[in-house]
């Protein structure tokens, strides 16, 4: 049986934030008498993650995804509840725990800006107490996987964003951690760089059985990497389960584009009783429930002169967008 590597129970986190009224008067008031308000950003959440799982955290900006990741890796003290990661209390930041995890943030960098990435890799290797030969072996292995070679010897400031992100990954993985916390790792990357990064993470997970916790606003990251997603809405978990089930729950319909031989057939089909999304001349798009697609298509093919048809999945971004929307959405 696969063990739970992350165990979170009734976790809450509150931050004190200062409030400021607009305008000059507000600024002066704020300077002399600062008003603060306690904001509960994470509200009593519980979940478990098994070893080797890739879990995506979904949520709108400010939903609390990054705060959860930072509590899991021990950067932020929880206000209430308990967290166990790999058997450790993360905020104690014990040496053996830190050797087991890594955090990669798409918008922050740890590489030394003026030097080639290789210098940062060897510095990290010495911090993780790796000898020179072992460090060299790991750099070679990871650079082959990431398909970077001559970039290792070019100053970081002269690398493209994609090359820099690959180097950041290498720097963060040189100690071969078991748990990866990734906070928007593909932020700002072009399509090819995003794809390469996803390919690498998939491969790394397969080869090392590492557990990956990922937040991203790019749906492609989530759909191609994560079987399981945790949706966070205003600090609470609104869904925790497989991505497939989420999509089925959120989108019980499919869209079918039907091309009729004549416009007359299209008009007849329009009035037949299906839910019509739109109609342009002899092309008509209808919405059909997932469980009645076969019977509906039989009816259409038997009663109308059809030239061609296409079954389309509704765009995943649109579906997930509904989960991320702030108000009144329940799964």
């Amino acid at each position: 049986m696969v063990q739970n590597i992350i165990d979170v129970k009734n976790l809450s986190k509150s931050f004190d934030i200062s409030l400021k009224e607009p305008g000059f008067k507000g600024t002066i008031k704020h300077f002399f008498r600062r008003q603060t308000k306690s904001l509960r950003v994470i509200k009593d959440i519980s979940f478990e993650i098994k070893e080797g799982e890739i879990v995506g955290f979904l949520g709108a900006n400010g939903a609390g995804k990054t705060t959860i990741l930072k509590m899991l890796c021990g950067l932020i003290y929880p206000s209430k509840g308990s967290i166990l990661v790999s058997g450790y209390l993360p905020f104690m930041r014990k040496e053996n725990f830190l050797k087991n995890i890594t955090l990669i943030m798409g918008q922050k960098q740890q590489l030394i800006w003026d030097l080639p990435p290789i210098e940062s890799f060897y510095l990290n290797a010495s911090i993780y107490d790796l000898d020179k030969f072992e460090a060299k072996r790991r750099i070679k292995k990871l650079s082959d996987m990431l398909e970077i070679d001559k970039e290792l010897f070019i100053p970081v400031r002269k690398l493209s964003l994609g090359q820099r992100m690959k180097s950041e990954l290498l720097a963060a993985l040189i100690h071969e951690p078991n748990i990866l916390f990734l906070d928007e790792p593909t932020l700002g990357l072009d399509i090819n760089a995003q794809r390469n990064l996803r390919k690498f993470l998939q491969k790394y997970n397969e080869e090392t059985n590492a557990t990956i916790c990922l937040t991203s606003h790019y749906m492609k990251d989530i759909t191609s990497l994560c079987k399981r997603v945790i949706c966070v809405h205003e600090g609470s978990i609104s869904y925790d389960g497989t991505l497939d089930l989420l999509l089925k729950k959120l989108s019980p319909f499919k869209e079918i584009l039907i091309i009729c031989r004549s416009e007359e057939d299209a008009i007849k089909l329009e009035n037949f009783g299906f839910t019509v999304k739109n109609k342009i001349k002899n092309e008509i798009t209808i919405k059909i429930e997932n469980n009645s697609i076969t019977s509906s298509l039989k009816t259409i093919l038997n009663n109308f002169d059809i030239e061609d048809f296409f079954i389309n999945e509704p765009p995943i971004d649109e579906i997930i967008g509904r989960v991320l929307s702030k108000k009144g959405y329940e799964i």
Partner: protein, 264 residues
């Protein structure tokens, strides 16, 4: 603590810092020229004070130069280690990159205190030592074991006090985020360390001994050079340095509990 690992990491810190700084040759050259001009300027200023009076606070010009020498060494150490590293804490906290430091299996205080060095500060340290050797000759100081031990102890204590003061102020960034001004105020107070403590009024002497212990930083080691120091003063400096170091450590560990990281 695995001292072999820390030594290895420190060697890497030195290597990467040197390599980073050497990327900008002109900047190093300007820093070197600034260090030389600053020392000449300070000696000139000191000589103006002594132009009409042979003594200030009971100190002759040649004796006051010892204070200038120690100040130059300490300022060199500040510019080599404290300034590049401890001002970086502010940046780490503002930008949230302290996250990377805290997640490394190494002491975070060691990491942020020693990661960077500014090689041009070494010249200031060397200039300070040259000035001290000159003062030893001029003041005919006897270089015996007792003198070498006491001067090493007092200068080391001064370094510890100076480091603790810098580190303490930088740590407050965790709550106040911007503390550049406080660091500048500390730097201005340190300029006072170029003059003998006795040259100030009684109230200022108390202030610079109790509240901001500038007096301990330069005056006590200088008194050791001149054989004027009393054992109680040296003992007090050791106690102050130890208390400051321990407090700065405890304060850092306490402050980290309030670190909320920058938002992404």
């Amino acid at each position: 603590m695995n001292s072999r690992k820390y030594l290895k990491v420190y060697k890497k810190f030195l290597h990467t810092s040197f390599a980073s700084e050497l990327e900008y040759k002109t900047n190093i050259l300007i820093d070197l020229i600034t260090a030389i001009l600053s020392l000449i300027g300070s000696i000139f200023l000191l000589s103006i004070f002594f132009q009409n009076n042979g003594y200030i606070g009971g100190w002759k010009f040649e004796q006051a130069l010892i204070i200038q020498g120690i100040y130059t060494i300490l300022n060199g150490i500040t510019n080599t280690w404290f300034n590049p590293n401890l001002t970086e804490i502010v940046k780490h906290i503002r930008e949230g990159t302290l996250d990377f430091v805290l997640l490394k299996p190494i002491d975070s205080q060691f990491f942020i205190s020693f990661k960077k060095i500014n090689p041009s500060g070494f010249l200031e340290i060397m200039l300070g030592f040259f000035l001290l050797f000159f003062c030893i000759r001029v003041n005919q100081i006897n270089l015996n074991l007792n003198f070498l031990t006491l001067s090493s102890i007092t200068i080391s204590c001064s370094i510890c006090i100076l480091y603790s003061l810098w580190f303490f102020i930088s740590t407050t960034t965790i709550w106040f985020v911007k503390t550049w001004n406080a660091i500048e105020v500390l730097r201005s107070f340190l300029y006072i360390g170029r003059f003998p403590l006795n040259s100030f009024s009684f109230s200022l002497r108390i202030f610079f001994s109790v509240f901001i212990p500038i007096a301990f930083i330069t005056t006590i080691p200088s008194e050791v050079f001149l054989g004027l120091s009393q054992l109680w003063k040296i003992s007090l400096e050791i106690i102050v340095a130890t208390v400051f170091l321990i407090t700065s450590r405890k304060f850092w560990l306490f402050a980290l509990k309030f670190y909320s990281s920058a938002s992404s």
